[in-house]
Amino acid sequence: MKSFMLENNIKVIFHKTSALKLVAMRIFTSVSVISENRDNSGISYFTQKLMTQSTQNRPNEILVRDVANIGAKLYGNTEYDVTKITMIFMSKYFHEAVEIISDVILNPKFDSKALFFEKQNVMAVLNSRKDNISEMAHDEFIKMFYGNNTTYSRTIFGIKETILKINRTDLIKWHNYSYNNSNILISIVGNINDKIVQSSLSKYFSRVPDGVKSKNIIFDVKLDKNIKIEIKSKFKQAYIYSGYPACKFGDQNFIKTSLISIILGGRMTSRLFVELREKLGLAYEVNTIYPLRISQSYFGIYMGLDKKNINTALEKIYEVLKNFRTKKISELELLYVKKNIKGNYFLNRETVKNKSYYYGFFEIIGQGYEYDFKYLEYIENITTHDIINIANEIFSKYSVNVVICPE
């Protein structure tokens, strides 16, 4: 693993692999949904989407052709805390790929016509989320949990009112803010020589201009009562999405909380899976979610089920959580959970795509790529005492419960 700075202070992290002749290259920016406000919600998504459509040097059909000519994949992703432009390609096309992705980063066209049609597409995406019960439940949950004034309360696509207002000038400004030398990071993993990486990036990325460092708003959610809402829907299935406030990434309790999410959900032997699915047959899908966020996160529990079982399921979830925070887990259970996390850690790092994501993500949010290598050590140090303490801290708080119910 290597890291170096380009002339203009852009950090590059690079990991050489030895298997297939493939490379994943990601340009991360720390400007994303968290940096938005109520008037420009959705702008990070639009910016990356239009960046990957055309540049000042390459109209859409030329950009698409050039990417296809080297057999590469080029796409963008917006998450709540980071946005990234990714390219995956064969090692032998490294120079060509870097030239193309640098053009995308440096010279986006932000074509007005493309923006017009992209707005229609985003409206369709927002509508299509209502055709999927788990997306619908998630979207309702974040609205209730985060309230109206935080960026995490909206989907990454934004909201209809602001989407319609975003114009080309807004995108140019947002691009200048997002993709300057203070806010981007390059993460590369693949079977390629480091000298080639250095020379190619110096050639194409040293032109990224100076800019202002992003300032992301950090906020807390404080619930003063339990909130439960029931929403009637067109689906035959019912759905529960519940969540408790939980610490942000970087907090001293973050790793402990993530371990708790594995004890309770995510595996065939997790407690909620065993109690709700294996013993009672209440659901096919039952899981926990603990989003990795630089601001307020939540510990979520979700399941799809039959309408008639909603109350039984909610009572059982409560019982499992109560039991979990009152009775210390055994040393043996903790040992096995740690082994499972370790195994899954390696399973998740088999591809250049995943590795470039983890290293880049930890670096851009300020923990350093080394965090990924220390992760298992942090897990190893957690005790049963830590678990019960954190469980008490999380599950004795108020919660938000969204229940989607057939009409």
């Binding site: 297939l20 035959k236 047959g281 399973l347």
Partner: protein, 410 residues
């Protein structure tokens, strides 16, 4: 490698620290009759409910406690069980899977609980517009053969099927001659051969006859335009036609054809319907291959008012290729894209094991070896000839799912 009981195994060696143990069993939706709809899938669930040496959920427990993941999947033509784990646990994983497949207990109480789980899964599946659409597509394109059967199954069957019927179905299909075990990763061949011999290699050969469920009507796949209505926000459609089966050489061409049509942002349908005419929000084409018949299907999502435009433009694009061919450059780009997709599919131990295992299991092991060369040798004429052979306006299916109340996107 073939064992005395006709079980087969293949070893895929690589340097990874992660290993995969995969077992393919030749049973799926095509083996079911109406009163068994979903039995293969239900059985797959029940295999996790305990075996002689690993009662209750101790199979999952052991694997997860060793840092691995265990799961299974049922398809139209086979059921697959797999474990992904660190390489030093391969032997233990083989033993656990062997015991699960040879000595399942099927406790009555567990069967009754799992019925509820699967019925819930069915409910969830049919709440999804794409699932509804695909089921209708299969019913139509394969109307005369068992490929039309739904994998997920019928709630009625799952609710009522007895333990005896489940056991009989298991005894009929879970026999060594219908299994392939794939080991992918870094391991000692001799040690692994020995352990397979001592476990899977000792499975008793099947005694019950397997009913050949393969019938085909000649009148299937005449052009049809079907519209179903559901409470959805957008319009969804599958446009498709029948294609070569797994043994035919045309399958190599089929993978290029779907890439040219709708495999990426450079593809014809994407450029025309998404970028230029803005008729769709999403469009993609896929090639599905089975023992008897394959199919090419084009999936589109659109504003309901655009449905006819989408249909016409898809037909126009295909017919254009038939009349005028494609450019050499386009063909080369498609070859490169297909090759990189293939490379990416081999990046993980599971990916390598699954890809090699699948083609062995489907009795076309040469596919992998020949793949890159065959793709390289495809010419423009082959693409045109393929579409002339398999596509015809008289045989195209358009299966759409539209909102019950017309909902225009504003």
């Amino acid at each position: 490698m073939k064992y005395e009981n006709d079980l087969k195994s293949i070893f895929i060696k690589n340097k990874s620290n992660i290993a995969s143990v995969i077992v393919f069993v030749k049973v799926g939706a095509v083996d079911e009759n109406l009163s068994q709809a979903g039995l293969s899938h239900f059985l797959e669930h029940l295999m996790f409910k305990g075996s002689k040496n690993n009662p209750s959920n101790s199979m999952s427990k052991k694997i997860e406690n060793m840092g691995g993941e265990i799961n299974a999947a049922t398809s139209k033509e086979f059921t697959m069980y797999y474990i992904n784990i660190q390489k030093n646990y391969i032997i233990e994983s083989i033993k656990i899977l062997a015991d699960a497949l040879e000595n399942p207990i099927f406790p009555k109480k567990e069967i009754d609980i799992e019925r509820k789980v699967v019925i819930e899964e069915i409910q969830r599946y049919f709440d999804n517009p794409m699932s509804v659409l695909y089921e209708q597509f299969y019913k139509t394109v394969y109307s005369g053969c068992p490929l039309k059967n739904t994998v997920i199954g019928s709630s009625q069957v799952i609710k009522n099927v007895s333990r005896d019927e489940i056991y009989k179905y298991y005894k009929t299909h879970y026999t060594p001659e219908k299994m392939l075990i794939v080991i992918s990763g870094a391991f000692d061949d001799l040690k692994i051969s020995k352990i397979i011999h001592e476990t899977f290699g000792k499975f008793k050969k099947g005694s019950l006859m397997t009913i050949n469920n393969k019938l085909f009507n000649e009148d299937i796949c005449v052009a049809k335009n079907l519209i179903k209505y559901k409470k959805t926000e957008l319009g969804y459609m599958i446009t498709g036609f029948l294609c070569p089966n797994i043994k035919e050489d045309d399958i190599y061409i089929a993978t290029l054809v779907v890439n040219i049509l709708g495999g990426n942002k450079f593809s014809r349908l994407y450029r025309s319907l998404y970028e230029e005419k803005h008729f769709v929000y999403e469009i993609e084409s896929l090639f599905e291959v089975f023992n008897d018949y394959g199919n090419v299907n084009i999936v589109s999502i659109f504003d309901p008012s655009n449905m006819e435009n989408v249909k016409m433009e898809i037909a126009k694009q295909i017919e254009y290729i038939i009349s005028y061919g494609i450019m050499e450059k386009e063909l080369n780009v498609s070859k490169l894209s297909t090759k990189i997709d293939f490379l990416l599919s081999l990046e993980t131990s599971f990916g390598k094991g699954y890809t090699h295992g699948y083609w062995h299991f489907m009795r076309n092991p040469e596919f992998i070896k020949k793949y890159i060369k065959k793709i390289e040798n495809i010419r423009i004429d082959d693409i045109v000839f393929f579409l002339k052979k398999y596509y015809s306006p008289k045989m195209i299916l358009n299966i759409a799912l539209l909102p019950k109340i017309k909902n225009k996107i504003r």
